[in-house]
């Protein structure tokens, strides 16, 4: 080795780097050993002089979802260091909330996680209900509808995550299968709310409308179709060598690190930590259902994929149980201070019209205080920390974004990996720009 190449030897590999990267073979841990000819090639290649280069990945990189920039310091293909920069989709969610009435915030929370807006709707409604002290007065039928809508949204969320990241790996067929399955979910949610993507369906104290008459039958039929698409996707990829090579042992994060980073949801459960808000601190009517918390071992891309696949099956089981159990009754709380009067009263009586006017113009008067409410969103614990000063508008409305904390761990996951691994790792953590940047 010449002096020049010695100078260009990479600096000492950091300890967290060493876990996944073996400098002797130039391969990730968990990868199968190279064939003899490839081994010889790799040894020769290791002797070639290289230079560290700074590369910008994103924000306009197609696999960066248009919202994240990763500044990579690379040596050849190996990532030595990374700076993950978010904020390109910051819309001032909190500032806008402070100028809106409590009910006007629903369209904003729709646009936080635009892949599963129903879950955000419900999470926010529950936070305000907690602060109002009316959590136990929400009609049971409304709680069941929220669960059904929320779990449908979770299926849509996981389908998007899985199939979009597979499309980024070149498996475009799965993306089409996934989108067909999502189309069924969207049709059901459209039946519920009238909107396909941003539903604004939940209300403080209940939901906007009751289920349609044929909703239960339609849902059962569509769930079967979705199951078929998921089976198709699994059959296509799970024994595919390219898929396994890029998922297994890539993007590993340990359980202790995941907890320390505040990672929740599927990414944490992929580290074999069975934390699910629905099970550990049951809210709504989740304690009425028999379901398993999906966990997997390894903390790598494949584990995250498997957790999401299993969670979709559990979600469908919850929906089917809910459709059987759902009781008849009202879908919104009977409290004129919180819920809008029926349209019949608004148009035909002066009291109804005044009540409507006051609620729309002044907003719901939430007593002064603060509350932190938590639900299981598509990506993990979706929390809302709401502070009221007694007026009709929130003093503060903070969203605890699961994606933000997961993305903060991205640096640790990609350092020591190859450039090409950034795409599947980033895809598997399901970073949603609207929620991460708010």
């Amino acid at each position: 080795m010449t002096a020049a190449t010695e100078l260009r030897q990479p600096p000492t590999v950091a300890s967290d780097l060493a876990q996944t990267y073996d400098p002797a073979t130039g391969r990730q841990a968990g990868e199968s050993p190279l064939s003899p000819s490839m081994q010889q090639f790799a040894e020769e290649a290791a002797q070639l002089p290289t230079e560290e280069v700074i590369v910008n990945m994103g924000p306009s990189h197609p696999a960066m979802h248009g919202t994240v920039r990763v500044v990579l310091r690379i040596d050849g293909e190996l990532i030595k260091d990374a700076d993950v920069q978010v904020g390109y989709l910051h819309r001032g969610f909190e500032k806008e909330c402070e100028g809106s009435t409590w009910s006007q915030i629903f369209p904003y929370v729709d646009r936080l996680n635009y892949v599963s807006p129903m879950l955000n709707n419900v999470g926010f409604a529950m936070a305000v209900e907690k602060l109002l002290g009316i959590t136990d007065q929400v009609p049971e039928r409304a709680e069941y509808i929220r669960v059904i809508a929320g779990e449908l949204a979770r299926i849509s969320d996981h389908l998007t995550c899985i199939t979009a990241s597979l499309a980024e790996l070149g498996g475009l067929t799965t993306f089409f299968y996934g989108n067909r399955a999502r189309e069924h979910v969207w049709e059901l949610l459209e039946d519920l709310s009238g909107a396909r993507l941003t539903h604004s369906y939940a209300r403080i104290g209940g939901v906007a409308w009751d289920l349609t008459e044929d909703f239960a039958d339609k849902t059962r039929v569509k769930l079967e179709k979705i199951r078929g698409y998921i089976t198709d996707i699994r059959t296509l990829v799970e024994r595919n060598r390219i898929f396994l090579d890029r998922m297994e042992g890539v993007g590993v994060i340990s359980a202790a690190d995941a907890i320390s980073y505040g990672i929740t949801g599927p990414c944490l459960r992929a580290c074999d930590v069975a934390y699910d808000v629905r099970r550990d601190q049951p809210y709504s009517v989740y304690d009425h259902f028999d379901f398993d918390v999906a966990v997997s071992e390894g903390g790598d891309n494949l584990a995250r994929y498997l957790v999401r696949i299993e969670e979709m099956a559990q979600s469908m089981s919850i929906i089917e149980q809910a459709l059987v159990q759902i009781p008849p009754g009202p879908v919104i709380i009977d409290d004129p201070i919180v819920a809008l009067p029926a349209k019949r009263e608004v148009y035909n009586s002066i009291e109804g019209m005044i009540a409507h006017f006051k609620l729309i113009m002044d907003g719901i008067k939430v007593p002064p205080g603060e509350a932190y409410s938590y639900t299981e969103g598509g990506n993990g614990e979706l929390g809302f920390y709401v502070v009221s000063d007694g007026s009709g508008r929130p003093y503060k409305c903070r969203c605890r974004p699961p994606s933000f904390y997961t993305t903060s761990a991205l640096r640790q996951m990609i350092v020591g990996a190859n450039i090409a691994d950034v795409v599947p790792i980033f895809g598997s953590i399901n970073m949603i720009g609207g929620e991460c940047d708010r």
Binding site: E96, G133, Y275, A371, E381, T407, S408
Partner: protein
């Protein structure tokens, strides 16, 4: 279970606790800033508390009150399945507007504190990399402060016919003292 968290805190670090309370099922403890890290370390390390996860960190701006800001930590224990909210009050003056960093305890604090600094201008002493995170480097002021006007605009690229800055932004720029971290 949850009440015992506050009781343990009262017993173990009585000198650090200013106030405790429970509202709509949430437990809260207001802590002296000088003892904040001591309390947070106890919460994380003590086996009976075991708050392994910093769920969220944010700031509340009580404009017009003294002290003006409250730094709010939401903690969760995966093992015991309990939660607690820890708060610390900080003043508005530049030499007062800081808390010690929690990055040594939870890695989640790294980005959460950057966001709190970015949006509220509360400094986190000892943070290894306290840069703006959601706003851009050139941004002046801290947008979630209650005295930052909701309709102020700070475009990076200005249209040729647009005025240099609007009135509100001008006032804001005059008042802002903390463009960058020292």
């Amino acid at each position: 279970m949850a009440q015992s968290v506050l009781r343990i805190l009262q017993e173990r670090v009585p000198h650090a606790i200013v106030e405790t309370g429970s509202y709509v099922g949430d437990d809260m403890a207001l802590v002296e800033r000088d003892h904040l890290i001591e309390v947070l370390t106890l919460l994380k390390e003590d086996p009976s508390l075991d708050f392994s996860m910093l769920t969220d960190l944010t700031v509340v701006d009580w404009l017009g009150q003294d002290p003006r800001f409250e730094v709010v930590y939401q903690l969760y224990s995966i093992h015991h399945k309990h939660r607690v909210r820890i708060k610390a009050s900080v003043g508005e003056a530049e030499d007062q507007c800081w808390v010690p960093t929690a990055t040594g305890l939870w890695m989640a604090a790294a980005w959460a504190e950057r966001e709190a600094w970015d949006l509220y201008g509360v400094r986190f002493r000892g943070h290894p990399d306290l840069r703006r995170i959601l706003m851009y480097e050139e941004f002046v002021g801290h947008p979630l402060r209650k005295d930052y006007p909701q309709n102020a605009r700070q475009p990076l690229i200005r249209r040729p016919d647009a005025p240099a800055t609007d009135d509100q932004t001008t006032r804001l720029l005059a008042n802002s003292h903390d463009r960058r971290v020292e």
